[in-house]
Amino acid sequence: MNEVAPQSAISTSDRIRRFLWLLAPLLVLAITIAWIAAADPLKNFNNGAPPVEAVTFERTVLNSAGMQFQIRAGGSEAMTVAQVQVDDAYWMFTMTPAGPLARGSTAWISIAYPWVLGEAHRIKIVTQTGTTFEHEIAVAVPTPEATQGQLQQQAIVGAIVGILPVAIGLMFYPAMRGIGATGMSFVLALTVGLLTFLLVDMTFEALELAAEAAAIFQGQAMVLLAALSTFLLLMAIGRRAGRPEGIALASYIAIGIGLHNFGEGLAIGAAFAAGSAGLGTFLVLGFAIHNVTEGIGIAAPMVRNRPSLWVFVALTLLAGAPAVLGMWLGSLSYAPQWSALALGVGAGAILQVMVEVTSYFLRTTRQEGKYWLTLPVLSGFLIGVAFMYVTAALIKV
């Protein structure tokens, strides 16, 4: 006891000293900030040029009251919207909140403009410095509202593109149970192939959306970092109790695919709200066929288990239901940065299941003492990628 007490006293004072050393750089930083703010040593760089201004249109609403836009300011200083043109004409507008827009803040602009169904309109904001920012409404249609009927209709479409194909894919399960080692390799490789397609597709989609977002979100970095963080997080969670196999692995695949379908739902919902997609039967059927392989992928790691029926139902909902959620969010409140973030998270989740399925497959082949890159594996992978690529042609408009 006598020996322990002084030791702990030393370590406490040590800790305080270390804490004080931690404060030193922070103090210098605070002094630097105060000095720059007070003395303005950069004032000689002021060349009289107007401040840089940036405006991002995040949401567009068309209804019987006219047009409403949510804009986000991203300039070097607060900026003022002076006038608004619609189709090269000045229109009376109201802005809430009124007044200068601070960097990063948003406001709604409302114009009682008699927009024309199915035609294009161009909005141009003129700021105090005379800079202009344009936004195009490619096809004017009323923005969906959160009515019960509307939500139900969207839920049906979401179910057709998300839940139904996963369920159909899972129905291959009984047929898959009888397959041997070669067949198993083929199916697992097929799964990795389709996941590869989803990863590539989703990443580019996310980066494309990120480019539309306001600069302060640093969209592209946000997408990649979100994907990486999600990947590491899911890997850590998945490996808490060893490497995931069987139903656990199937669940992770379902989560990854679910996030992908959420992104797909967002895209359909947003296209629907923007009037750019008529959401024809062709498109919906395309999504359904495209997503059938997802069910096969989920079923693959469970071939050697005997899951009960409710597991299949749960997996179907896990993978398919997010499409419904995505439809709702995409059509009602669409902002590119949040869609990009969701797709980035999805890409990370897909990467995790790709790694886990591959790892599971390599372990099985090693146990059986075989070389891994056989003809069935290669053909499974290529068929998976090719099937997804070809069916994606149906849904890319």
């Binding site: 006038q83 004409a89 229109w91 003129v126 005379g130």
Partner: protein, 309 residues
Amino acid sequence: MTVGSVDPQRNGFDPSTMLTDWDFGTLSEGEDGRPLRTFEVEAIDKEIEIAPGVMFPAWTFNGRVPGPALRAKEGERLRIIFRNYGSHPHSMHFHGIHSWRMDGVPGAGLINPGEEFIYEFDAKPFGCHLYHCHALPLKRHMHKGMYGAFVIDPDPELHPELAEVARSRLHGTPENARWQELVMVMNAFDTNFDNENELYAVNTVAHAYSNRPIRIEKSRPVRIYLVNVTEFDPINSFHLHANFFDYYDTGTTLTPTLKTVDLIMQCQAQRGILEFNYANHEAGQYMFHAHQAEFTELGWMGMFDVVEQ
């Protein structure tokens, strides 16, 4: 329509008073015994408000856009003392008859910041003219605001066959005092410098005369000195609602060049005189605007408030 209003105090000029704000210079007797009219004009960089809340870094003559509406009488000797207080070389190029040395082009009256030049020539021919900066790049110097009206009234003694008409055009005569004379310069502004105009106007401020209609007395005839300086767009136009007018292209004749029209076109630097009246009209608000609908809705639209008396 634009939202809000422009503060004429801050701009230092008011489109409503500009309509009748002539610069007659100072009249004296020249060395040759002829009347000598002297104007003083300064080039000044100035930020102006061209529509509510929209600021434009203009280059101006005498701190206003359009520059002062200079007015003289046919045959007078004119002397324009021009000083450049701006940040770029500038000049005053007059549309009139003069020597090459007075033309306001590079090598003849184009001066650097801080310099002075005196343009001197006779006031001829009579008519509705303009002046503008002729420094390069010309387009930029035009649309930045360096232009103004330059009106030479006819001398009735030189036009005995139409002396009555000439007198009605000559400022200071009782015949002229009857007329309600307005000077209008059709201009436009490219606020984001993409070689397309964001705003159109008469006398600079978009929608100025629809927010504050121009008061017109029914019993007195109206004469508009109209000048087009619009850059980038090939033509501009003037359309009068519910009425027709006589038009004197370039104002160099005492008989109309177009009779009974309600629309005229002008290319850049084209100008002319419009004459009409509302004697037999009901009092009320009468519109006028460019009949390019695009220009109208981007600011070039105004109203006459026609009143009894």
